[in-house]
């Protein structure tokens, strides 16, 4: 899972404790994928178990500390750094696409009589564009608008990724709509209804 590698990669910058790691992650991703602190420490514990991170004492990390366990910091081990390098060197696999509710919904809808697929498409397109408007507003108003720090640039790129994903969905919906309209008109041409009026000549071109 990418959270594990992302946390490990952030530790390349130097030792950090859990809250710091979460904050560094969210600086870059704008809480798009919020991390709860329990998840952070569970992941760190697993990384430690696998020999990819190790605990740093306060004295070692340069923290003044106030006695027993003020902060428990972690740093990546050489094996951990190797895993990070391998993560960056390997493309994210696309062989198993995540389950796509919209594709499934339309795939079912087009086969059922009495379902208004065009209305499903239009409602979805409207909702998706509305989400894109929200992302775009964040892009042009928040810290992503004038990214000074590298983390702000990272956040603006994450927003771009959300926008491009949504755009792909809208394009696919446009495509579905056009295909369905063409299929319907071809069906009407091949099998004209006996009592239907003659087709009108109002084909709108522009």
């Amino acid at each position: 899972m990418s959270i594990r590698q992302a946390m490990l990669a952030l530790l390349e910058q130097g030792p950090m404790y859990g809250y710091q790691l979460r904050s560094e992650f969210e600086q870059r991703t704008g809480e798009t994928w919020p991390l709860n602190i329990g998840q952070v420490y569970t992941t760190l514990a697993r990384l430690e178990r696998d020999g990819l991170v190790e605990v740093v004492t306060d004295a070692e990390s340069g923290d003044s500390g106030d006695g027993d366990r003020a902060h428990v910091s972690y740093r990546a081990t050489p094996a951990g750094l190797e895993e990070v390098a391998a993560w960056f060197a390997t493309p994210v696999p696309r062989t198993q696409p995540p389950r796509d509710e919209l594709a499934i919904k339309l795939a079912i809808a087009v086969t059922l009589p009495g379902v208004d697929v065009a209305a499903i498409i239009q409602r979805q397109r409207s909702a998706t564009i509305s989400a894109m408007q929200d992302y775009t507003r964040l892009k042009r108003t928040g810290r992503a608008a004038n990214p000074d720090a590298p983390a702000d640039l990272a956040w603006s790129l994450v927003l771009d990724s959300l926008v491009f994903d949504a755009e792909a969905e809208v394009r696919w919906l446009d495509h579905c709509e056009a295909r369905l309209r063409r299929a319907a008109s071809e069906k009407a041409r091949v099998r004209p209804s006996v009592d239907a009026p003659a087709p009108s000549s109002q084909e709108v071109v522009r």
């Binding site: 239009q122 409207s126 564009i129 709509e177 000549s201 709108v204 522009r206």
Partner: protein, 241 residues
């Protein structure tokens, strides 16, 4: 707030009889100060017709088009041309710059045409070029510039002299995504400063810069969403003819 652009039950029919084509059917549409409205729809849905009518470049078969409270039908040709040069700014996919004129001359052209004095026109042109971030290219010719820079000049020309209605037809055209986004940012900034904008696009990513998105199909508004003024709920009626 009064709409800068107000289309009232506008229809546009080309040809007649069997060749009759309904490009727009009783479309009502408004754009208010400070508002950017995107118009989306497949090819042939009537997007560009809507923009052409809004800009007074064509006349509706029925219905009326109002710009800043003036019914365009009440103006003669000269009056409409003046309205286009003083109140309406266009940004097209092709930048439509005049190759023999410098950037500043291209931008000041609409002002020159309405008799603005040369020095004042130049000052306004420089102001507009500054606004789009290329004042340093004022004395260059279009063919000495990149596509993105040329489109910035076209935007400067569209907004020069504080024009209140910006009409943009696929303004990002063939620009790469990053440069295209700069173009949208500039149009958006102009609307945030008080102009009304209409952006015709088939790309959802561009429409997302707008406050309101209107969907056209077969000349009819089939859907619209986004923040709207309380008195401007659009009618989405079918055909009039």
């Amino acid at each position: 707030m009064n709409a800068v652009l107000n289309l009232q039950s506008v229809s546009r029919v080309h040809g007649e009889g069997v060749t009759e084509v309904h490009a727009l059917r009783s479309v009502s549409f408004r754009a208010h100060p400070g508002e950017l409205v995107a118009v989306m729809g497949p090819s042939g849905s009537g997007k560009s017709t809507l923009l052409t009518l809004a800009g007074g470049l064509d006349e509706p078969t029925s219905g009326s088009v109002w710009v800043e409270g003036t019914d365009l039908a009440s103006l003669d040709l000269a009056g409409r041309a003046r309205m286009r040069r003083t109140s309406i700014g266009y940004v097209f996919q092709a930048y439509n710059l005049i190759p023999a004129l410098t950037a500043a001359e291209n931008v000041s052209l609409p002002l020159d045409l309405v008799g603005q004095r040369a020095r004042a026109a130049r000052a306004l042109a420089m102001h507009a070029l500054e606004e789009v971030g290329i004042a340093d290219l004022a004395d260059r010719f279009p063919d000495e510039m990149s596509g993105g820079q040329q489109q910035r000049i076209a935007i400067a020309r569209a907004v020069v002299g504080e024009r209140r209605l910006i009409l943009a037809d696929e303004p990002t055209g063939a620009l790469d995504t990053d440069t295209g986004e700069d173009v949208l940012r500039l149009i958006r900034a102009r609307c945030d400063a008080g102009a009304a904008g209409v952006l015709v696009t088939h790309e959802a990513r561009h429409a997302a810069w707008a406050d309101r998105v209107v969907f056209l199909r077969d000349g009819v508004i089939v859907d619209e969403h986004g923040a709207d003024e309380p008195d401007t709920l659009l009618e989405t009626s079918g055909s009039t003819r």
